[in-house]
Amino acid sequence: MTGGFDLVVIGGGIIGCAAAWGAASAGGRVAVVDGGDADDRASNGNFGLLWTQGKGVDAPPYAAWTRRSAHLWPEFAAALAEASGIDFGFEQKGGLHFVLSADEAARRMAALAPPGSARDDFAVEFLPAADLGRDIPGLGPEVFGATFCPRDGAVNPLRLLQALRGALARANVAVFQGRRADGIRATGGGFAVSVGERQLSGARLLLAAGLANRELGRGLGLELALFPQRGQLLVTERTPPFLPWPGTAVRQMPEGTVLLGSTQENVGFDKSVGVAGLAGIAQRALRLFPHLGGLALVRSWACLRVMTPDGLPIYEESPRFPGAFAAAAHSGITLAAVHARVLAPAILAGGLPADVASFAAGRFADWQPHDGGPEH
């Protein structure tokens, strides 16, 4: 038995790492078990946006949870950069969603900033193309404008993960990398996790294994309505800076590459890329920025979102085995700060924060498990 951890986290993607670092920062003794490179890993292939715009339009608790994370991000980012010594490109000076017609603009603004909505720092405003053109050279003639939220931002998601792993090591978190949790057992007052020959014992357990949470949860009496949704992405060669804000379909990284994405496809556990999906992304990008047509594409890839039927996260504590928790979200980058600063300390203390009460797994009691195939 390796043991006496306050918290054992299964899964070392962004959710597991953020929670583990948050729990360790709050004084807990923490272990992380993170599977192999062949696993589905949303944290290794995403767009890296810290996004509030449009989140929770019909779900106020989700809007509030997302905004809470956005508020926590500056402190979280500074502390993590300090703890890890790694610059992960955190920025939070606004984000854009481009629209191509007056109609699209009107529909989006009606949803995101209806009359009477709060004029706080999350207020979305519409920027017409003429205004955007002053700051964004090469904006295509078809662009009608963009919605802008000053609280949106971005990180380099791979460096964020690297920073968290570095910070975990420095915080003396026991990280078992390239190892799967093969068995989980409730021991009465705690949990025993077998990792190969080794047994880890923890007072509390957090399942943060992305899509694998569905399988792992079953053993703990947790029915988690999770399925994959494929996103394909493209990245261009480096080009001189032209886009000072990240956008939903296009963002220029500090190094000059341009990230283009991403499809939303229900094709099960299929991570292949295809010309049809990639061409659609490229065509949309060319309407926004015709000059991208001259750039070489250096890579394309696909990654699976950790999706729920209503698109909102799931946070749950096992009713059968109190102390065993599960967390899954398809905006794990955006929510990293609130996971570290609010979710993790609460779990360490033995319960879920009140903020997430409406994200319980039980809301999908009628869900028929599926793998997100085309019929869904």
Binding site: P240, P254, E255, G256
Partner: protein
Amino acid sequence: MFGRLSGDDGEASGRVEIRVDGRPVAARAGDSVAGALLAAGVRRFRRSPVTGAPRAPYCMMGICFECLVTIDGQPGRQACMIAVAPGMDVRTAEGDPDRD
């Protein structure tokens, strides 16, 4: 800094002449453009479009995209993934590469 392991200057494998920023450069058949340029003393392949910093090949296997040059008029080609061909015209970001 870089030299060929054997003294063979192409007698055995066949000599290929290319042009690098207007200068004639002798390469060996089968060389990648990046290999030929490094052997010929070219140190700066491109410049970062963001900072202007000089860049040179890093991975030599098609992954890092640090070796991009203009080949026969087409910019942004991966020098490490393309074999030299007789008369090939290669332009580095420098136009006038330094040799050390």
